[in-house]
């Protein structure tokens, strides 16, 4: 048990429930894990942090039996643990909430939650009353009282899907619960609720592995932390004896602080690039819609809870969904886009929230993705000029510090941060005047995040107008010149840069929620 990470074992008075030592895994020529040692004590919340590609996902997949390790030992209660299927892991009491959703979209919420152990009646028929009751209880336990368990999962938003996934994992009796980026799609309130659940589990002696990019979360709920870097465990420490800076330094070897602190010159904003008056998305329950003005050189942040209509606002500007009513003016001229193509021609780009579903064509080459919205620039008379395409990719790749092998590599070979940069490059290739960005750093590691922040700032300085939707308030506070807070598809309030504070923004975001709760 002589692990490489001395700090963890120095005070290993408590017998670990799970212990890994020297775990290695390679995929073909790529080393994913290169000696990971890690121990988990009963009743602790242990954070696992590291940049994308550091090996967190691989480690989790090994623990839950999706893939097998090449070398190293794993013990569960001092006995060798060697799961070959996810079923083995479940039998051993290890439950995982994966980052990617594993839900069955056309089945109901209740069927999803109870899928592993459906209540039965005679002749194998499903006992629906019990099924719904169990699911109801599971949802109430995590504060989803307003979701009908009979609804199909496909009708839920991402945040709710994530919570259903968590409810499902909690159905089984688990000794170890692994949460992979559970808060990525949650708002502050839902996250708080999750933390209460984690605290309750902890009190019952369940050991929780908490994977997160959000260091503030790590510091608020975890007992210990292990940092992975480049497939190795480089540090394990008690939370009380470390600092966020120390973790970041261990994760990336460089500081994000510089990027976060850099001030923006606020007086450079120019004329109005885009003006909305009462723009109403079909999903909006209110007739009044959204009104706002976006200026050249400005970064306008849109805050709000998941489901407050932020994404829908961007989609109705871009004509990804056609607005029901309201007007849109571009450079003072009224416009009514019928499809994204017209919006793009008018100088608008849209970095979508879900890059795998809407932003990228994963199996296609990096260059093909970069030029997807600007094929005219790299073609003549309908014929592709592959050299021009490669050159454009290399040029933009250099500008945005894209780390890649070759322009013809599939985008799926890139890390999350670099994939996001490809999405940005796709729009930059088109020389947009306005960029709409929905969660621009979702699932992106700290290093790439700093680079994307710098890039977005640079674009605003060049005179582009940026409209950024984000669930991460520190991100909006860092980037924005001004923040509009949405609630129930309306602008609930505006916060000027001088008044930025999480509290103020959240007050606006919850305004309607609170009123709602009173009647």
């Amino acid at each position: 048990m002589a692990g490489a990470t001395a700090p963890a074992l120095a005070d290993a008075a408590v017998k670990p429930v799970l212990a890994l030592s020297g775990v290695k895994k390679r995929f073909g020529g790529v080393v994913a894990l290169d000696g990971v040692s890690f121990s988990l004590r009963p009743g602790e919340v242990h954070a696992l942090v590291g940049e994308n590609g550091a090996g967190k996902s691989t480690l989790i997949k090994i623990l839950c039996g999706i893939i097998q390790r090449d070398a190293g030992t794993i013990t569960l209660d001092s006995e060798a643990y060697d799961p070959h299927t996810p079923g083995d892991a479940k039998k051993a009491g290890i439950q995982v909430v994966h980052q990617e959703f594993n839900l069955l979209p056309y089945l109901s919420v209740a069927e999803n939650i109870c899928f592993e152990d459906m209540p039965r009646k005679a002749f194998g028929m499903v006992d629906f009353p019990t099924l719904y009751a169990r699911a109801r209880k599971a949802l109430d336990a995590i504060g989803l009282g307003d979701v009908d368990v009979r609804r199909p999962v496909e009708s839920l938003g991402v945040a709710h899907r994530q919570l259903v996934e968590i409810a499902r994992a909690l159905m089984g009796e688990s000794r170890i619960l692994i949460l992979d980026e559970p808060t990525a799609t949650l708002t502050a309130r839902e996250t708080e609720r999750l933390f209460e659940i984690i605290a309750a589990l902890k009190a019952k002696g369940v050991a929780v592995v908490f994977v997160s990019h959000h260091l503030n979360e790590v510091f608020s709920i975890c007992d210990r932390v292990t940092v992975l870097r480049n497939g190795q465990s480089v540090m394990t420490a008690d939370i009380a004896s470390t600092t966020p800076d120390q973790l970041v330094t261990n994760m990336v070897g460089r500081q994000l602080a510089a990027a976060m602190a850099a001030a923006r010159d606020l007086d450079k904003t120019g004329r109005i690039a885009l003006s909305l008056r009462g723009l109403r998305h079909p999903a909006s329950p209110h007739a009044e819609g959204v009104s706002l003005d976006l200026r050249y050189g400005e970064i306008l942040g849109i805050a709000g809870l998941v489901g407050s209509g932020r994404t829908e606002l961007l989609r109705s500007i871009f004509a990804a969904d056609l607005p029901l009513s309201g007007t849109l003016e571009r450079d003072g001229k009224p416009r009514r886009y019928q499809n994204p193509k017209q919006a793009i021609r008018d100088g608008i780009g849209f970095v979508t929230e879900d890059r795998k579903e809407e932003g990228l064509i994963l199996d296609m080459a990096i260059s093909a993705n970069v030029t997807l919205a600007s094929l005219r620039k790299v073609s003549r008379l309908g014929l592709l000029n592959k050299r021009a395409e490669t050159l454009l990719t290399q040029q933009l790749g250099g500008e945005i510090k894209l780390k890649y092998g070759g322009a013809s590599d599939a985008v799926s070979t890139l890390s999350g941060g670099n994939q996001q940069k490809v999405v940005l490059a796709k729009w930059l290739a088109n020389d947009p005047k306005i960029l709409l960005l929905d969660e621009p750093t979702r699932g992106v590691d700290v290093g790439a995040k700093a680079e994307i922040y710098a890039l977005l700032r640079g674009l605003a300085e060049k005179g582009l107008a940026l409209l950024i939707v984000s669930s991460e308030l520190p991100e909006l506070i860092t980037l924005s010149d001004r923040i509009l807070v949405m609630s129930k598809h309306r602008i609930a309030g505006e916060v000027a840069r001088a008044d930025f504070s999480e509290e103020r923004i959240l007050n606006f975001a919850y305004k309607d929620e609170r009123n709602h709760g009173h009647h």
Binding site: G28, F350, D363, S379, L384, G406, S408, D409
Partner: protein, 333 residues
């Protein structure tokens, strides 16, 4: 910036993997075809010039239909109607060609145009219905399969049309150094199809839509247009296929072309194109059609019954897809 080299190092090896992946895909199918030819060349007559001509003749129609099918499958669709539509195009063309009072050249010309127009008509119908109402093309083309067959029977009153101009018959059986003229025409169509898919913006967007329709739409591409276009291209090739069929067999009948769609789909799938769309190539389709043709011919020469032949062809289709899975796993690691 100390992580830079860490991330680029594995990326370099991925470049090689990606390149080998594309090459492997087609090379693998090519090797399978060559292996088949070698195995069958032990039977007498297989490599005789008359038999080679025979194989190429048999491959031709399926190859033409498979080109169109590749376009449709690449955008994630399927066209089950091609066999019936071929029959409809043929009877339309046959009717035009045998109109009294036309000189032979004009008759053949007008018949060809009408066959292609009939094919375009059904292609548009398939494309417009499936794209406008977002109905799976499997269902729409299952419908048009019946419509076209019924229409062909109705138009001809279930009778066969024959006695085409002599020059047309001669055209159908013409060969150059043992290679049928009709096969050469099919090769030209292969070349055009390859060019469109590999070299044009149109082709690139088709691949994009097949891979991720929403991403393509949000990047400003008119998905509706491309879907309709893919089905229409398939219709054009069905029209051409009908003329080739008539030139070879000198008949046009409402009961021809039964099951042709399945052979075309088989050729596309054996050729490595993914049924879920977005991945594949015309070169693969060419090789796939040749594998089916060589297999059918070789098995006859081996003296196997028609029934055995059909069973073996079925196994080969499944085997091809299984091998494709392994090839993918091999190159993904």
């Amino acid at each position: 910036m100390d992580t830079t080299d860490l991330t680029t190092a594995p990326a370099g090896s991925r470049t090689i993997a990606t390149t080998t992946k594309t090459v492997l895909r087609e090379a693998g199918i090519g090797i399978a075809l060559i292996a088949l030819i070698i195995v069958f060349s032990f039977t007498p007559h297989f490599l005789s010039s008359s038999n080679v001509t025979n194989i190429l003749t048999q491959v031709t129609i399926n190859l033409v239909l498979s080109i169109g099918m590749t376009f449709v499958i690449l955008i994630g669709g399927i066209d089950l109607s091609v066999g019936s539509v071929l029959s409809f195009c043929a009877v339309v063309a046959g009717t035009v060609m045998t109109l009294p009072g036309l000189d032979p050249v004009m008759a053949v010309f007008l018949a060809t145009i009408s066959a292609i127009l009939a094919g375009i008509g059904f292609g548009l119908l398939n494309g417009l219905i499936s794209a406008y109402w977002a109905i799976p093309s499997f269902i729409v083309t299952l419908g048009t399969l019946n419509i076209a067959r019924g229409a062909a029977l109705q138009v001809t009153n279930a009778s066969t049309i024959y006695s085409f101009p002599a020059a047309f018959n001669a055209f159908g059986s013409k060969t150059f150094y043992g290679i049928p003229l009709l096969f050469l025409i099919a090769l030209v169509l292969v070349a055009i199809g390859w060019f469109v898919l590999a070299k044009t913006v149109f082709g690139r967007v088709l691949y994009g839509i097949g891979n991720n329709e929403e991403a393509a739409r949000l990047a400003g591409h008119n998905v509706f247009f491309y879907k309709v276009a893919a089905f229409t291209i398939c219709g054009v090739l069905v029209g051409i296929g009908a003329i080739i069929y008539m030139a070879r067999l000198n008949i046009a009948s409402p009961i021809i072309g039964i099951g042709f769609e399945l052979n075309a789909i088989a050729a596309v799938i054996i050729g490595g194109t993914s049924l879920s769309g977005g991945r594949g190539s015309i070169v693969g389709t060419l090789l796939g059609a040749c594998i089916i043709g060589v297999l059918a011919n070789g098995l006859i020469l081996l003296g196997l019954s028609d029934f055995m032949r059909q069973m073996i062809t079925g196994f080969v289709i499944i085997l091809a897809v299984i091998l494709d899975k392994y090839r993918e796993r091999l190159t993904k690691a």
